[in-house]
């Protein structure tokens, strides 16, 4: 159960090697934290084990559990097994996603469908499974990593962008459906984030870092907000971009 300062005792990170996800876990650390669960496709990988080791401390137990976003049939059972291991879920962060490359998607349409299955369908079944548990507990927070890429989809990566657009709508609807239950959803919309996912890409304007995203996320969690843009200025930027005529939008060098 989180305390009056919004400090959780238990955090679950779906996508346990995500740079942003791990930054959020670190930002949520406090004297109250007891358990962190990193949910990853391959628990034995060096990446997963080193992420866990980085968080482990005398007071905080970190477990690495197998979770595959694509296998929707397993998601409800997965949530049950996490609860059996660590008790109530205070904060769950959904941080898995595939960025991919538009040209590769163009050449291999099936790979695009697989990518959006992770980004959208997997998030739908995982999100619903988590929400069912939060509803049962009467408390808890689900953080969904959306993206400004979904706010107005660009041709530079419209497979990713459209999957985020879908995810954003799903997360908002889920948040509304949890109204009055004691549980809440926070939709995080980062701009371009310098991370391992975007390594080698040229940054878009108003870019940010995993730590800054984490800071904005935790601040929003504590204030009870339902959505947060990071950096904050993107809220204004996109309210303009959203209404730009298509001819102009297509000409913008947005990265």
């Amino acid at each position: 159960m989180q305390n009056s300062f919004g400090e959780p005792q238990t955090i679950v990170l779906l996508g346990g090697t995500s740079d942003i996800g791990l930054a959020i876990v670190r930002e949520l650390e406090s004297a109250a934290l007891r358990h962190v669960v990193l949910a990853v496709r391959n628990p034995d990988s060096a990446e997963a084990q080193s992420a866990a080791a980085g968080l482990r401390s005398p007071k905080v137990e970190v477990s690495v559990m197998a979770f595959d976003a694509v296998l929707s049939d397993t998601h409800s059972a997965f949530v049950d097994s996490v609860v059996a291991a660590v008790g109530d879920l205070d904060v769950v962060v959904m941080a898995f996603g595939v960025l991919g490359e538009q040209s590769a998607f163009d050449a291999d349409p099936a790979s695009a469908a697989r990518a959006v299955t992770v980004n959208y369908s997997g998030a739908v079944s995982a999100g619903l499974a988590v929400a069912a548990r939060l509803r049962k507990q009467g408390h808890g927070r689900l953080v969904v990593l959306s993206s400004v890429a979904g706010e107005r989809v660009r041709s530079s990566n419209f497979v990713y962008g459209s999957s985020k657009a879908g995810l954003d709508g799903f997360a908002q609807g889920l948040g509304d459906s949890l109204e009055g239950t004691g549980a809440k959803v926070l939709v995080v919309r980062p701009g371009f984030v310098h991370s391992s996912m975007t390594a080698g890409m040229s940054a878009a304007p108003f870019s940010t870092t995993p730590d800054k995203v984490a800071e904005a996320t935790v601040k929003a969690l504590k204030s009870g907000a339902r959505t947060v843009w990071t950096p904050g200025i993107l809220r204004v930027v996109f309210s303009v971009l959203r209404h730009l005529p298509g001819a102009l939008f297509r000409r913008l060098p947005l990265g």
């Binding site: 009056s4 406090s30 109250a32 408390h139 004691g182 009870g224």
Partner: protein, 456 residues
């Protein structure tokens, strides 16, 4: 089956709410309601004056037990009253005071239920001489997890009796209680007020003089720093006799009609209480207090329940709410108390009402909070930057000094802090498990602080 509502429930600090099925019940149907409890269990909730999550049960059942003060049975000869657990101290006083009696212990608000008073083992300004509420309970009638109703007293199932006092509602639903009552001649108190120029001064005055009075408490201006650190107003008193009332008083000596002067509207989107406003208020209140005044007559609401004058005062803290921090520092550890006061004062955290009280002897309850020493109580807006880290830091100072937290006020501390502060926790858990092996009684506080194992 009575109507069930899904409600968001929080404590008086309006932080960390959770959703539960809230069910109004009475003596007649409470057992049946509990039988229908989901996996997350059931908990009785009084008037929600615990500051944190003691009276809420996320995903479970929360019971509001009806109370009828009119059905209270006052035995004048034995000086005791038997009253339903759902009755508030406010309602009970309206019955008792006109008949020349007072409750043995009252906290700073009269809007707590008798059941809550027992479950939190509340204390008041007279702890140093008369102990806490549990010291004055003669008998408890309680619904157990198996549906049976048990009679408990210091000589009948004493273990369970003392485990229920201070047991945070986690041993059963208290149905009715028999308590001592104190005879009074008038509905006024006679009060001596003194200003102390710093913390050492107020502590010395309290150590030297408290025991001459039934009621004693100090209010500290936490915004004062440097050589004014801990400047306070010490207020000590007793129920006034007819003689002390004098000839120039209005109305019958036992007249009692407390009222709420004004209410804070429920929707304030910001906190009206910030450093500037609190500093200004504290300074004005401190200057207004007499340097030294004896024999002042105050009404019961004025002396015991000043905060109740403003209805819904917790709303003034806005949507982020506030936390109340109340700790015990044992006798001999005054340096730790000094460190805590200093740290709080220099941090500039806006504490509106900060109370310092000397405690007397503890009672036999394993989870009771008071023990010989000092208790400091303060309120701070929950959104105050750096507050969480500072309170965790202060927790270590308090725990290292052998102190502990008051669970009826707590909204932030850890299972570790409770294990360290309450050495008889395991003993309490064994008693609870013996009457509730399936874990029917659950609460958010119980889960957060590790008092009970979560049933998932």
């Amino acid at each position: 089956m009575p109507q069930v509502h899904l409600s968001r429930l929080a404590g008086w600090g309006r932080t960390a709410a959770s959703g539960a099925r809230l069910l109004p019940v009475n003596d007649g149907n409470v057992a049946e309601a509990v039988r229908g409890a989901p996996q997350r269990g059931a908990l009785a909730r009084g008037l929600g004056r615990s500051y944190g999550d003691a009276a809420q049960n996320g995903g479970g059942l929360v019971l509001r037990l009806a109370g009828d003060a009119g059905a209270a049975l006052l035995d004048v000869a034995k000086r005791e009253v038997t009253v339903g657990a759902g009755v508030s101290i406010d309602d009970l006083l309206r019955v008792l005071v006109p008949q020349g009696f007072f409750v043995p212990v009252t906290p700073g608000t009269r809007f707590v239920t008798i059941g809550g008073a027992v479950a939190s083992d509340i204390h008041g300004k007279n702890h140093h001489v008369e102990g806490s509420f549990g010291n004055h309970v003669r008998r408890i009638s309680m619904l157990l997890a198996d549906g049976s109703v048990a009679e408990l007293s210091p000589t009948l199932r004493a273990d369970l009796f003392w485990a229920t006092i201070g047991g945070m509602g986690l041993t059963g639903v208290i149905l009715d209680v028999t308590i001592n009552v104190i005879p009074i001649e008038t509905s006024k108190c006679i009060v001596d007020t003194t200003r102390a120029h710093d913390l050492d001064h107020v502590m010395t005055l309290m150590e030297e003089g408290d025991d001459r009075y039934r009621y004693a408490v100090a209010w500290i201006d936490l915004m004062a720093t440097g050589r004014h650190l801990g400047r306070s107003i010490l207020s000590r008193g007793e129920h006034a006799t007819r003689e002390q009332l004098g000839s120039d008083h209005d109305g019958p000596p036992l007249e009692y009609s407390p009222s709420v002067l004004v209410s804070v509207p429920p929707i304030i989107p910001f906190s009206a209480l910030n450093r500037a406003s609190v500093r200004a208020f504290n300074a004005a209140w401190f200057r207004k207090a007499p340097l030294y005044r004896v024999g002042e007559l105050q009404t019961i609401p004025q002396y015991f329940h000043p905060l109740d004058m403003v209805g819904g005062w917790n709303q003034a803290y806005g949507p982020r709410g506030f936390v109340q921090y109340q700790v015990l520092v044992p006798v001999g550890e005054e340096n730790a108390l000094r460190r805590v006061v200093e740290r709080l004062a220099t941090s500039g955290a806006a504490s509106f009402v900060t109370v310092l009280k000397r405690f007397g002897a503890a009672n036999p309850s394993p989870l009771s909070f008071p023990a010989p020493g000092w208790t400091l109580t303060l309120d701070v807006p929950a959104g105050t930057s750096g507050l969480a880290a500072m309170l965790h830091e202060l927790d270590e100072v308090v725990l290292d000094a052998g102190g502990r937290h008051y669970m009826a006020k707590d909204s932030h501390t850890t299972p570790d802090a409770i294990r360290r502060g309450y050495p008889r926790l395991a003993e309490w858990q064994a008693i609870r498990n013996s009457v509730d092996p399936e874990g029917v009684w659950q609460s958010d506080l119980g889960r957060r602080l590790g008092l009970i194992a979560a049933a998932h």
